[in-house]
Amino acid sequence: MRLICPVCGERDRREFYYMGDAVALQRPEPDAGAAEWDDYVHLRENPAGVTRDLWQHEAGCAAWIVVRRNTVTHEVLESVLATDLKGASA
């Protein structure tokens, strides 16, 4: 399996660390309440199909990236720097 690092280009999966659903980027406010925090830390859409998940090019440039990927075919559709996404949303 190969992923695209927006910084380094296409690399073997062995260079990447996987964290999970890209929901990790939307950290709730401290006072958001138990339900929202439970959602953030535990509950998952877990789609059989296209998903957005969070990886770090740990053995490479250390960039955290959001990868749009198909969980059934393992097709990689797009990958973006987490910082760019946050910049855009900010």
């Binding site: 399996m1 190969r2 073997d12 830390v41 075919t73 097709e75 720097l81 946050k86």
Partner: protein
């Protein structure tokens, strides 16, 4: 029997080898199988279940019967295909799964008991009496099962792994693959051409019809020569592409030195990871047998195998051969044999309308329905319209038609499609992204068809690569149509084999269906059909057809089982190459390593690092003596310990302070430059992640320390928090763990030691407790931190790593002069237990700040990672197990880590377990064992007595519960 004037072997180079101790001769270019047949040896192996005598079925890696063990120096390689292993001078080959001998195999009796060994019989019995399964039945079954054996000791052989990259990977060097590689190579793209065979050509090496007026092998040789002359083409012979993985990554096994005498330096095989932008599968096809009564005798093989032995290796598998098929292709075998002067006793074609000519007896609309000959074929019985007759023969060449080699296209869950006209499965387009299939593996069985599809595949691929391909004229070659009509099994009462190795017969499949194992997956798992070492390459389609027939479904509806990687088996040593011994993980050595080893300190692993456990001195025979001495040394004078393995992370930038406030539970923005503070880090779920001290070197520059174990995880976490949560913060992190060699100098005389070493003097005002700053030693810029993990007056001094070894010597020299010296992990552990400091033995991933009594360190004035979830009701309260100190008060004075804690009144059962011990050490300072552990509502139970029970070590004692800190609770010593 050798046939003069035939074959590609080098008759000028005789090669001798042994089979079960008997010395035999073959020629360079022979496989074990061809050489044995040349020596008129047909019996080569025994089957798995019934131990039936077996010879070769095929001439390739798909061979299910002729598996042998190759002796290689001290070790042996089991389950080698005799059809693949090339012979070399001195090769030692042994047969397998037969005792006492291949000729007389005691377990052959299984064959007589076959009626009781029908499909799934073992699910229905061996249940009484209960104990007998493990004691009697299973051991017997295990001993009977298995094929070859591993030697039981580590193999001396070397294996390696490698990566390769290309624009186009062509899998298979038959006519289709060669044509594709030629066209792509000429167009200038980077090509890798991989083929599992020794020599390029595929079926061309085994057929008499040529290409462009040249013999097949000559044409292939010419093509390979042209390819070899191209810089952009890489030819990989003896290389089996074993698996297709995501994003066009392929696994491949190269047999590097198995074809010559074992050499201890050369790798036996290399496992390749090949990354290709595009791929072309030209894997050819495999001929399928026909199921009829006793179709498994030595001497019965596929028609194409007979042609291979004859045309490629110059061997006639028998002096007298019968050919049996359901297609025109099989006729070639009869013609080739005849032309080579081998007697063809009969050609039997199951099709009434088959058109056959040739000067040998021909039976159309007839079938071979049985055979005789215990250890080798003696005769076959054929059934014609006019009845049955017996024909004496040593070899039956059978053909049920061809199965395209679709296997790789199934590795990513692709399902092949059924084609009625050729009664075979063919690859589904797009099953492997970027892969095009061509030639026989695609259902194009003629040489012309293969060449044409190879060329077309190349053109399609070149276009996809954005390259212009110039179509060259196709070499002219035969284009005989493939005429066949399905014949899966010949009717009859006896046992007709489908899966030869696993002894699965037509009856077994029918019985499975009767017992409602009608799904193809159920049938497979119930009968073990297709689960042998050939993974059903020779048998799946036949078995499927029979299942379809008995369940009244069509073959497409019945579906197939999934072909999974590897295409052909891969040694664990190949995919795991380099890991044997220490190669599994890098070894990290501190700058004091060599000096430490010289001091005879036993080393222990700490993550990937090695750290000294203690430093023995003359007269000490037990580690406890050394440990006690080292503890006392630190308490009384001064000790030196290499702490370089702790993670050190430089945190710099205008927002460094704000960033640390967010990742730590406590506040670092209020920390003054030149000072150090202990920090606690939580995971977002509120559990403790790590702890350590962080020093502020300047307004915008901190250096954080982590535990040795968590260094990597913390660095990753910091980058996550920065890049994914707080990218607006202007801060950057870089690890300086490797840059600095850092040593703890601990004990009442630590300052005295340093003042005898540093280029300047320090005192309690210039360097109070928790101070840090630049110093210089021997003229080298260094960093000094006044921190303590021992509870004593202590420092940590860091120098650029190149000076580490030298400084360690200097520190020890000075320490010795003061009555001190180096100390190791054992002493460090005791010192911190006396002081109640935690390590990952305590913060093991399930404890909260509350559990370790640090909930007050979670500042309410700010948000931080883990703060919210740490406030969940379940993570607080008396029911939680809380950190306590423990002292034995019973008769038994020993404490053990891992023991559980109970109310003295209660039995030691799960319901009553109230906690457990995490760390234990003998405190020479206090003359008792001290422990740390977690106890329900522990903070409220100081002074109470609990029962410690360690079933594992047979220890039970009473303990007094107290606060974790015993040594110098007021901390006067550290400030001193």
């Amino acid at each position: 029997m050798r046939v003069n004037g035939k074959g590609l072997i080098d008759r000028s180079r005789p090669v001798s080898f042994t089979f079960d101790g008997t010395r035999l001769q073959g020629f360079a270019g022979d496989t074990v199988a061809s050489a044995l047949l040349a020596n008129d040896i047909r019996l080569m192996a025994r089957s798995f279940k019934y131990h039936r005598p077996r010879g070769v079925l095929s001439a390739g890696s798909e061979e299910p019967n002729a598996l042998i063990t190759v002796k290689r120096g001290s070790d042996a390689e089991p389950n080698v295909r005799a059809t693949v292993q090339e012979i070399y001078e001195g090769l030692e080959v042994r047969s397998q799964n037969a005792w006492p001998s291949l000729g007389f195999d005691a377990l052959g009796v299984n064959d007589l008991a076959a009626p009781f060994f029908s499909a799934g019989f073992y699910y229905k019995t061996f249940m009484w009496p209960r104990a007998f399964w493990e004691r009697v039945y299973e051991p017997l079954i295990r001993r009977a099962a298995g094929l070859g054996g591993v030697s039981g000791t580590a193999s001396a052989a070397e294996y390696e792994k490698a990566f390769a990259f290309c624009d186009l990977l062509v899998i298979g060097a038959g006519p289709a693959g060669l044509m594709a590689a030629l066209e792509a190579g000429r167009a200038g793209v980077d090509v890798i051409l991989a083929d599992e065979d020794v020599q390029a050509g595929g079926r061309l090496l085994s057929e008499t019809h040529g290409v462009e007026g040249l013999s097949g092998s000559d044409w292939a040789a010419r093509a390979i020569a042209e390819l070899a002359s191209m810089e952009n083409v890489r030819i990989m012979a003896r290389t089996t592409v074993t698996g297709a993985y995501d994003q066009s990554t392929f696994g491949a096994l190269e047999r590097v030195s198995q074809h010559h005498a074992p050499s201890k330096d050369a790798p036996r095989a290399c496992f390749w990871r090949i990354v290709a932008k595009r791929s072309i599968l030209a894997a050819g096809a495999l001929e399928r047998p026909v199921a009829f009564q006793n179709n498994d005798r030595p001497g019965i093989m596929t028609a194409s195998a007979v042609r291979s032995y004859l045309n490629r290796w110059g061997v006639a598998p028998g002096r007298n051969v019968v050919v049996f098929g359901n297609n025109d292709d099989a006729h070639r075998t009869a013609h080739d044999l005849r032309a080579a002067g081998v007697h063809v006793a009969a050609l039997v074609d199951s099709r009434p309308d088959a058109r056959v000519t040739g000067d040998f007896p021909v039976f159309t609309g007839a079938q071979v329905c049985g055979s005789t000959g215990r250890q080798g074929l003696e005769a076959v019985t054929i059934r014609t319209q006019s009845g049955t007759e017996k024909i004496a023969t040593e070899c039956l060449a059978m053909s049920g038609g061809w199965n395209p080699s679709v296997h790789l296209t199934c590795h990513m869950n692709g399902r092949p499609e059924w084609r009625d006209d050729i009664a075979s499965f063919v690859p589904k387009g797009g099953a492997i992204p970027g892969m095009v299939t061509a030639g026989a593996c695609n259902g194009a069985f003629s040489t012309h068809g293969a060449l044409a599809e190879g060329q077309a595949a190349a053109m399609e691929t070149l276009e996809a690569l954005g390259k212009k391909g110039a179509k060259s004229d196709l070499p002219d070659a035969e284009d005989t149509p493939y005429r066949m009509s399905p014949l899966w099994a010949v009717g009859g009462t006896g046992r007709a084999w489908l899966d030869f190795q696993n002894d699965v017969t037509v009856k077994d499949v029918k019985q499975a269906a009767k017992e409602n194992f009608r799904s193809v997956e159920h049938m497979k798992r119930y009968t073990t059909q297709g689960m042998a070492t050939d993974q059903g390459k020779n048998s799946n389609v036949n078995a499927l057809a029979i299942l379809a027939d008995v369940t009244g479904r069509g073959i497409p509806e019945t579906g197939t089982t999934t072909f999974r990687p590897p295409y052909s088996p891969v040694p664990i040593a190949a995919m795991g190459a380099g890991a044997q011994g220490k190669g599994f993980a890098p070894e990290r050595l501190t700058t004091s390593h060599h000096s430490t080893v010289k001091r005879k300190a036993p080393m222990i692993e700490a993550g990937m690092w090695y750290r000294p456990s203690y430093f023995p001195v003359p007269g000490e025979s037990h580690w406890r003596q050394s440990c006690d001495r080292e503890v006392n040394m630190v308490r009384d004078t001064v000790g030196v310990c290499d702490v370089s393995t702790l993670g050190k992370i430089d945190v710099q930038g205008p927002d460094a302070a704000a960033f640390l406030d967010f990742v730590y539970t406590n506040t670092f923005s209020t920390l003054k430059p030149g000072r150090v503070r202990y920090g606690l880090m939580l995971r977002e779920d509120g559990t403790v992640m790590d702890d350590g001290t962080t020093a502020r070197l300047s307004d915008t520059h901190y250096v954080m320390t982590t535990t040795t174990a968590a260094a990597g995880a913390v660095m990753r976490h910091l980058e996550f928090v920065h890049q994914c949560l707080r990218p607006e913060l202007d801060v950057s992190m870089i690890s300086v763990t490797e840059q600095w060699a850092q040593f703890a100098v601990a004990g009442p005389k630590s300052r005295e030691l340093l003042n005898g070493l540093l280029d300047m003097l320090i005192d309690n005002d210039s360097f109070p407790f928790m101070a840090c700053g630049p110093v210089s030693v021997g003229g080298v810029d260094a960093r000094l931190f006044r921190i303590s993990f021992s509870g004593e007056h202590a420092y940590e001094i860091a120098v650029p790593a190149r000076y580490g070894a030298s400084l360690f010597e200097a520190l020890n020299e000075k320490a010795a002069a003061l009555g001190g010296g180096p100390y190791g992990m054992e002493a460090l552990n005791v010192l911190r237990i006396e002081k109640g400091f935690i390590t990952h033995a305590e913060i093991h991933g399930r404890v909260t700040a509350f559990d370790i009594g640090m909930e007050r360190m979670i500042s309410a004035k700010k948000d931080c990672i883990g703060q919210t979830m740490a406030a969940r009701p379940g993570l607080l309260g008396a029911e939680r197990e809380q950190l306590v100190g423990l002292k034995p008060i019973g008769a038994v004075k020993q404490l053990t880590a891992g023991a559980h804690l109970f109310d003295p009144e209660n039995p030691a059962t799960r319901e009553h377990s109230e906690g457990y011990v995490t760390s234990v050490g003998f405190s020479p300072t206090m003359g008792v064992f001290l422990g740390m552990g977690f106890l329900k509502n522990g903070r409220a139970r100081h002074g109470q007595t609990v029962k410690l029970v360690d079933h594992m070590r047979g220890i039970e004692t009473l303990c007094e519960v107290h606060g974790p800190v015993l040594h110098d609770p007021e901390g006067g010593k550290t400030r001193g």
